[in-house]
């Protein structure tokens, strides 16, 4: 099971781009990378998933280098409502056991 490492916390200001990097040095060939967002008093919510290169949706972009040992979640022009904890998970379905670490607490300041 690939272990992930993320910064514990990050601070930003409204309108800035935020990049959160996750390290997963022992990622397996079939593993996908998935990011979740959690607001206080709510369960985590899926943001984005990718396997390699770049994935973009209406919420975020996910950058994955060729060696896939890390990934970067990019949030463009954050607002106060992006203040949340962001989790990086690595694995595949089937026998995959979704394991959450402590995540990255992002605080966006006015």
């Amino acid at each position: 099971l690939a272990k992930t490492t993320q910064p514990i916390s990050m601070d930003s200001y409204e309108g800035q781009e935020v990049n959160i990097t996750c390290s997963h040095n022992n990622i397996a060939t079939n593993d996908y990378i998935t990011w979740y967002q959690q607001f206080p008093s709510q369960g985590p919510r899926f943001i984005i998933q990718g396997y390699k290169t770049k994935v973009t949706n209406e919420v975020a972009s996910l950058f994955i280098p060729a060696d896939r040992k890390s990934s970067t979640l990019s949030l463009p022009r954050v607002s106060l409502s992006d203040t949340a904890v962001y989790y990086c998970l690595v694995g595949v379905g089937g026998s995959y056991i979704p394991t959450f670490g402590r995540g990255t607490s992002l605080i966006v300041h006015p």
């Binding site: 996908y32 998935t34 979740y36 008093s41 709510q42 369960g43 985590p44 919510r45 899926f46 998933q49 904890v85 989790y87 595949v92 379905g93 089937g94 026998s95 056991i97 979704p98 394991t99 959450f100 670490g101 402590r102 995540g103």
Partner: protein
């Protein structure tokens, strides 16, 4: 599409009492998960069901926690007897169960053990 339903939303009990949580996953989702989230920590998987079979329960304290998903749909998680350290949010999630399927979470049950 209706989301994952959990009840109750909040529960306060005294130590050594018992408590039960209920979860109704999204219709058609084969996989159901129960997580425990202590304040300031990430969710910790307690048990994972595939239909009505257990995939993983390695972190479930089986001397006091039990869970069932008898008909492969809704599920209950029980704690008996509760300890102070069981105070946490209990999250239920479901997924279609296929490869790389994303998890959908309920709002959780916040348990306080006094």
């Amino acid at each position: 599409e209706a989301g994952v339903a959990q009840s109750p939303r909040y529960k306060i009990i005294e130590k050594r009492q018992s408590v039960a949580f209920w979860c109704n996953p999204i219709s058609g989702h084969a996989t159901l998960y129960w997580y425990q989230q202590i304040l300031g920590q990430g969710p910790k998987l307690l048990i994972q069901f595939q239909n009505n079979g257990v995939v993983d329960d390695s972190q479930l304290p089986k001397d006091r926690f039990s869970a069932e998903r008898l008909k492969g749909v809704d599920s209950t998680l029980k704690i008996q007897p509760a300890k102070l350290e069981d105070s946490a949010v209990y999250l239920c999630a479901s997924s279609r169960g296929g490869t790389n399927e994303k998890l959908f979470f309920g709002s959780g049950t916040q348990l306080s053990v006094l």
